[in-house]
Structure formats: C-alpha cells, structure tokens
C-alpha cells in the first residue's frame, strides 16, 4: 500500500475552499484514496467525510491508496495539501 504523510498548510485547514479543491482533485484522480487524521479515516472523494475530520492548519494527515496509479495520485494530492490553498489566487480578486 502506498502512503504519504503531510502537514496541512492551508490557513483554514481542510474546510471551505481547500476542502473543495482537495476533494475535486481526489475525484479527478480516479484512484480510491483514503485520508486519515488521527484515528479517523475517510474516503478522500467524500466531501462530508473530509469536513468531518475537522482538520486545521498544521494537522498531520496520512493518505493511502493501492493499485495502479496510486503513487502518482498520492504525490499530487500530498503536494496539494502542502500548499496554502487559501493564499492561492482568490476566485475573484
């Protein structure tokens, strides 16, 4: 099983805009990825699941996947989480 551990960089944690971007990317990857924070693990493609992790800035999360494409998908998703998505280009500014 492929695994990546990453510290969430976005100022608002995994809520709101960063959560949306992360889940969109997970769906797009086509690989079933699990995201774990502490004891709790949820499918990365589930917006409700990701929100319910209650991840704030600085939380360490672990991404897991298996099978073809797992390594690439995890690399992309881990890189996304390591960026401050709140600071990225605002939608209308």
């Amino acid at each position: 099983m492929a695994q990546r551990t990453v510290v969430v960089a976005s100022a608002s944690g995994l809520h709101a805009r960063p959560a949306k971007l992360f889940v969109q990317a997970a769906v797009k990857s086509g690989v079933p990825v699990t995201i774990r924070a502490g004891e709790k693990a949820v499918p990365a493609k589930s917006m409700l699941g990701v929100l319910s992790l209650g991840v704030v800035q600085g939380t360490e999360v672990t991404l897991e996947a298996e099978g073809p494409g797992a390594e690439e998908a995890l690399d992309a998703l881990a890189a996304l989480l390591a960026r401050d998505l709140d600071a990225d280009e605002a939608p209308d500014a």
Binding site: S12, H15, K20, G49
Partner: protein, 562 residues
C-alpha cells in the same frame, strides 16, 4: 428622515417588525417555499426504483446549486459549489441507496442519510456545527426533489419582488439576485444573519415581523427598513412613488462626501469596522447603498476619498487567528497590521476577541456551559498571556514600520483592574492611545473610573444589550429586548458619554447601532463622539446627522430616555 415619503394612505393593512436595514421598497411579495413536510413512509415494492429516485434527487440538487453558483460568481459561487459537492458525495449516495435496500422510500432514505451526517458535524462544534445548517438546507432540497415538489430556495419569477421568509439561511442569501427589492422575515433579530447581509448590500429589511408569512404571494407590500413598517396592498401610484423617492435617496447617498457633522457643525467622527486591509479596498462598481446586484456585497469604497470615512474605528484582528492550530507568528501579524496602517491614518485596533463563545483551536480552551458568560475577549489573557503580549508587540512594530500611531483597545473589559493592567502593558510596548471596549454593564457603570486608566472608550452595543437584558443576541424570540432603542441600554451609553465629556476623552460606539441612520442622531444626542460602522452605512448616517442640529439630536435622546 428626509425623503422617506409620506404614510401609505392606501394601505389595506399594516404589520410591524423591526427595521434593520434602511430604505424603502414596494412590490409584489413572494414567500420562500417552506421546507417540504415528510409524508408517512410508503411501503416499497421496488427498491431499485427508490434507489434511482435517490440518485436523481441528489443530482438535481447538485445541478441546481451549480447553476446558481454560475449565476452568482465570486465568493458566493465558492460556497454554492462546495454545497453542490456535498450533494454529490458518493458516501451520502451509497448510504441513502443502502437504506432503500432496507425498505425505505426515497424521501425517507435521503432524510435519514442527511440526518446522520448532520449529527456528526454538529457534534464537532465550532465552524463545523455551523455547516450543519447547510446540511439541513440540502436535505430539504433533496427530499423535495424526491417527492416531486418544487425545490425550496429563492424564487426567480422574472420580475422584481419582495422576498418574505420565516428566516433566511446563508445558502438562501448567497444567491440573492438584483430582482430582490427588500427582505422581510418573521423571525430574526437586529444582529441576525439576514440583518447583517441586508445592510452590507444596502437592501431594505425588516425582521421579527409577525404575520408576514400569512400574506398571500403576489400581494403588493411596501417595506420601510427604517421604521419596520409593512404596508399591505399598495396602489400602483404609491408603489411608483416609493420607487421614485428611494432612487432619489440612493442617488443622494452615492454622492455624499465629507466629515460627519450635525446641521449646526458639531463634528462626529464617522469610522469604519473592518476585518482586514481587504475591507478598505475599493472594489466592484459604485459606492455604497445604490448597488443591490450580485456585486453588492463588496461594492463599497472605504478609503478616505470614497465614502469619506475618517478612519477605522474597529479593526477586528480575529481573522488572522481563525481555524489555526498555532497562533499566527509575530512577523505575520506585523505584516497584516502594517498593511492597514499604511492605508489609513486613524486606526483603532481591537486585540483578539475570541474565547469559548468564538472558539479558536490553538487556544485549547475547555468547553463551557455558558460561553457568553465564560472565558472570552480579554479574559483569555488569564490563561494565555503570551497571546496578548505577542499581539501588542506586533501592533507596536507595525506602527513603527508604517510610521503610524494606532489606538489599541481590549474587548470584554469588566473591571478597572483589568483596564489598568491592559493599559500598563500596551503603553510599555510604546502604544500611546489605549482604550477599552464597553460591552459589560459593570464597565459602563464605572466608565468615569475607567477613563482615569485609559484614553478612550468604545461601546459595543450588541454585547452590551445582550448582557444588560440577559438576552442571547442570537435568540430570535427576544429581538425586542435586543432593540438598541431600549432606554436601559441608552442610559448606560449616556453614562459612558458623560464620563468622556468630564474627562475630555473620546467615547465612540462601534456596534450595529452606530450604522443605523435612525439611531445615530440619538447616540450623538447622548454625547457619543464617534460612530464606527460597516462601510456601506456611512453615507446614510452622514446624511441623517447633517439633517439635524445638535440640540435636535439631544431632544431625541431625551425623548428616548423618557
């Protein structure tokens, strides 16, 4: 009010609520559809068909939200897209489908699946608990779709209308279009979501208006967002007259400029409430109240040359601290504060106002039975003195960097001892003008003594009302107690203003009351020296003050205290 038009002679009836956002409008009303009622469970003969209905209902909800996101644009679009993604959540779909397999009909399966997630979010508290209300909204939409009922949400009748609702959720208001003339809700109070949104967009609004949901759709009603009056059954001539005077009023506000003063030249500083430098940026189209379109939220010019405010009366610093595990670094704080100091000469910074009522993860405060009466505002300093010390250091450093002399005040100060301790620490960092907020009656009663320790007072009327009347400011059933016209509240404000006059020190108001053109003259009559408000409120308050002499303001104050 000048140009507010005459009484509505032709009205067949009247209702009265609480006017929370100035302006008049008239037009046919449309009620926001109530959430669908869940019928008794059906006996399911074809679980596959129910599962298909579940999937189709969720798809329809997502499609509708995405459609509205496209129409709304900007920040509202982001919110709506995130909601659409919840409706599209495969986990939610699987769960609802599984429930149909257990014999539930589509509507009940959806209802149960949403309810479970709602519970999970509500238990997490804070920001996520607020999202629980969003889930309710999605649930209502999905259940309506499964039952073949019209989806609740904003109507789009193709003509301007007055939106009437029991209450409005953020999901409802995110998509408000330019065809909405005014908002009227049966619930809600002066600080409710509806009130704040309406003021930000310059939409006339009346809340806590009992009976309004009983009127038939299409009834032509007049709305006075100042007096809270609703006139039922206006004639065409009256409707046209309302539109004419309202357009004239907005035109006048758009061109309003200059420092605040009464008709006889008594100066009253008009200041802005901001959360970051972004609130000072001129964005969008025209200035202030005239814009009611999708861009209305940001359509203000807040710089000294725009709406002509004379500085910042309340710089809330909480935004820097939200949703973070660690407090923002010293450097990060300096940069954020300096950005504001660079843009405006006169700035009053409020130190971190958080606590068990507005929890921040890094504070690590224990849950409390009664957060409004718990460790909040300056009281957090009892547990975590480093947070305030770092913030004061950062404010002082930013001031040196920008060559500015910001005033600094602490929230939720209760005793003279707290005030003197705060003043000593702030002055030790080199901050010259130190003040405290008056939100607790105990502080108002000791205003004179407080002013021996600090240089100015700023009255937060929302919290002062909550604590004076022992009424939760979010409680829609107690809106009358939170009405800033309550004489007991005005008496406490007068006490502070009089203490300021004796000491020769400024006493401002920075609560919602300061931005209300009907209340502003009254506050000035009580002796308040500055008013701090949302940028969009400045022009109407300036015009209201300019229409009266100081003596007339004092007469209003005396009458209100009677």
């Amino acid at each position: 009010m000048p140009d507010s038009g005459g009484p509505w002679e032709g009205a067949a009836g009247r209702l009265t609520g609480l006017g929370v956002s100035q302006g008049r409008a008239a037009g046919p009303m449309i009620r926001l559809a109530d959430p669908p009622e869940l019928p008794a469970p059906r006996t399911v003969t074809d679980p596959g068909a129910e599962a298909a209905t579940v999937a189709k209902a969720l798809e329809a909800v997502a499609a509708e939200l995405n459609r509205r996101a496209l129409a709304a644009g900007g920040e509202a679009a982001e919110i709506l897209e995130a909601l659409a993604m919840i409706a599209e959540d495969p986990v939610l779909l699987e769960e609802a489908e599984r429930l149909t397999g257990d014999g539930a009909d589509a509507a009940h399966a959806l209802d149960a699946a949403f309810a479970r997630h709602r519970e999970a979010l509500a238990q997490l508290g804070g920001y996520l608990a607020e999202r629980a209300a969003d889930l309710d909204d999605l649930r209502h939409r999905a259940v309506a779709a499964a039952l073949g009922l019209p989806m609740p949400g904003l109507p789009s009748p193709g003509h301007p209308y007055v939106l009437v609702a029991t209450d409005l959720s953020p999901a409802d208001t995110a998509g408000l279009g330019p065809d909405v003339l005014a908002l009227v809700t049966e619930h809600g109070g002066p600080t409710s979501h509806t009130a704040i949104l309406a003021r930000a967009r310059g939409l006339p609004a009346v809340v806590a208006c009992e009976g309004v949901c009983g009127l038939a759709d299409g009834t032509v009603i007049g709305v006075d967002g100042g007096t809270g009056e609703i006139a039922i059954g206006l004639t065409q001539r009256e409707t046209a007259e309302v539109a004419r005077t309202e357009t004239a009023r907005r035109d006048r506000l758009r061109t309003s400029r200059g420092p605040g003063m009464t008709a006889d030249g008594h100066a009253v500083k008009l200041l802005l409430n901001i959360g970051s430098a972004a609130d000072l940026a001129p964005r969008g189209a025209g200035a202030g109240a005239a814009e009611v379109g999708a861009e209305g939220l940001g359509a203000v010019e807040a710089d000294a040359g725009g709406t002509g405010a004379e500085g910042v009366g309340l710089f809330r610093t909480e935004f820097l601290f939200l949703d973070r595990r660690h407090p923002p670094s010293f450097e990060e704080q300096v940069a954020a504060y300096a950005e504001v100091f660079d843009r405006t000469e006169h700035v009053i910074v409020r130190t971190l106002d958080a606590g068990t009522d507005k929890p921040l993860p890094f504070l690590g405060l224990p849950r409390e039975q009664n957060p409004a009466l718990g460790v909040r505002g300056l009281r957090v300093d009892r547990l975590l003195p480093d947070v305030l010390d770092t913030q004061l250091d950062a404010i002082a450093a930013a001031a040196r960097q920008a060559g500015a002399e910001p005033w600094v005040m602490a929230p939720m100060v209760t005793t003279v001892g707290e005030a003197s301790d705060f003043a000593r620490r702030a002055r030790a960092k080199g901050i010259a003008q130190v003040g405290v907020m008056v939100e607790v009656p105990a502080a108002a009663l000791r205003a004179g003594r407080l002013l021996q320790e600090v240089d100015f007072l700023s009255i937060g009327t929302n919290d002062l009302a909550q604590y004076t009347f022992a009424a939760d400011r979010q409680h829609s059933g107690l809106a009358d107690l939170l009405d800033p016209r309550q004489p007991a509240l005005l008496e406490l404000i007068a006490l502070c203003a009089e203490a300021g006059r004796r000491a020769g020190k400024p006493v401002g108001v920075c609560g919602e009351a300061a931005g209300d053109p009907l209340l502003a003259p009254l506050l000035v009559g009580l002796g308040v020296t500055s008013l701090s408000m949302a940028p969009v409120c400045v022009p109407a308050v300036r015009e209201a003050l300019a229409a009266l002499t100081l003596e007339e303001c004092r007469e209003r104050a005396r009458a209100a205290l009677d």
